[in-house]
Point group: C2
């Protein structure tokens, strides 16, 4: 984010108080890390601030909020962190759709209505924007804030593996480790540890991987019955998105996840090697980034696969 944008954002935050920071539904490491990181920083400035999600935050991020408790205040400022669109607020926060004062995001497709928007579509993580902001404001970064921001940067860059990993992301990680981020613990929790159920499910799901366009596209499908049968957590599904695109020769990898609340709908996670993933997602009403995007597709697993294959055709 440019210094000019950081300056304007800092000015907004300095005059704000009694703040609610919203995070997106089905929260990932970046929205959780940026949300809690910002709230801890604002509280450190002597302000009242809470972080909210449509549902409970997943337990896998509990190291970021084990001592967190909501403060009691009458909300005067609402900030959204890492939320590209009102639909991503989720049912629990949908009432905030027309009440957002400050939007902080890194999705170039952002269309969140807000009084003031601070969107850096080139930045790999909102947590990196929050890091830059705190440094710009001369604030101090506690080990807990460092854990939050490291979590967001690491998860949104696939542990510094994805194309979006900038030198700034590495420099921030270096600094955050210096400020006490428990990178080894976080990396293990976020990227390495898998339950036995998840590992066995992975076997079955990979075994039925479908290839299209002469092996240039690969699709895997995760059904509700598999999640039940292998007994793993829905929050463990994140890592599946990277599997199809990891096969040699594959340029577009898609992971279809049947939705728990609506088995007739699949969430498609699209990962690409050299084509614009957000363009494919956009053809199905979704959006995202160059190499990672998503959308929802209605139908049976077979029908959903056919739809994403058609959407991908123009990109190959």
């Amino acid at each position: 984010m440019t210094d000019e944008m950081l300056k304007r954002l800092a000015t907004e935050l300095e005059k704000a108080d009694d703040i609610t920071v919203l995070t997106h539904a089905h929260p990932d490491g970046d929205t959780v890390g940026a949300g809690f990181g910002l709230v801890y920083y604002l509280r450190g400035m002597g302000k009242r601030a809470n972080v909210k999600n449509s549902e409970d935050f997943p337990q896998k991020f509990s190291y970021l909020f084990k001592d967190y408790a909501d403060m009691d205040f009458e909300e005067k400022c609402v900030i959204s962190a890492d939320i590209a669109d009102v639909t991503l607020l989720g049912d629990g926060l949908s009432g905030y759709a027309d009440r957002i004062d400050i939007c902080i995001d890194h999705h170039k497709s952002n269309r969140m209505p807000a009084k003031k928007s601070f969107v850096d579509g080139e930045c790999c993580a909102v947590s990196l924007i929050i890091y830059e902001l705190i440094r710009f404001m001369g604030g101090s970064i506690t080990p807990l804030i460092a854990d939050c921001l490291y979590t967001g940067i690491a998860t949104d860059t696939g542990c510094f593996m994805f194309e979006n990993t900038s030198p700034e992301a590495h420099r921030a990680a270096a600094d955050l480790i210096g400020f006490g981020a428990g990178a080894a613990f976080i990396n293990r929790e976020m990227f390495q540890v898998k339950s036995r159920g998840r590992i066995l499910a992975e076997q079955e799901i990979i075994g039925s991987m479908r290839f299209e366009f002469g092996g240039q596209m690969a699709i895997i499908t995760v059904t509700n019955s598999q999640i039940e049968r292998f007994g793993f957590e829905r929050s463990e599904l994140d890592g599946f998105a990277g599997i199809p695109v990891s096969v040699e020769g594959v340029r577009i990898g898609v992971t279809l996840k049947q939705q728990a609340e609506d088995p007739g709908v699949f969430k498609a996670s699209i990962r690409t090697v050299d084509t614009d993933a957000s363009a494919i997602a956009a053809r199905l009403g979704g959006g995202g980034h160059n190499r990672a995007a998503g959308c929802t597709v209605a139908g049976t697993a077979e029908e959903a696969a056919e739809k994403v294959i058609e959407a991908a055709r123009a990109s190959l």
Copy 2:
């Protein structure tokens, strides 16, 4: 590495010429990256230098040497890069065992006989030492050298995921991307792309994972017949080492790989969460780092597994 050590090493390199840089057998990204990176840097200083390995360098690193050709000279200085012991020279380079002038390494267990040794057991990669050295010497880092050193740092830290990842590793990565390292390409080649054969083999091998000590230890075995049957490359075996230790609750993960040249011997890769991997390896005559170590074990797959289970017992 301390400035004092870097200064002594720089002095040695400045006066050296007609240099052979040795890399270790079954080369990994760090020995290849450090070896070629150092040779390209020395050549840039106007010196004659070659890099050698016991066998041909694996094709998966070909982006680092596609325009490389040996120079013709009478060798006057021999440097070993990332080689902890003479046995790791391999048959092809064993004649160098008593002729090493300068040893540059990051294995705290290093016992390489050399006229001058520069070992930093705290550094995550020899490629990071070479990076620090070039910066210390005020040398310039070409995009190709940046590719070499990024490859070494990224592979030895599991793409910045392992506990050995220091702030310095992240800062070096940031700088190397700035100097033109193709991080996205390298990460994909090193960490993401798997052949279909490898993916299918992984399924079968994970399915027969063995658990010991109430799930605190997990062991997988890769046999020569599996490699043949699934038709993947032996150089693709590196990634298997991280699989057993990724299971929830596992503290010691071991991957046993049957050796092509001697089916009665298994190479054990030991990865740990919170115990000293090198201590376990040492009980079987091997060595390595705190969280990643290795040894060779004779016997059938079953016998090899029993031996590593016994070696691990004292560490749990």
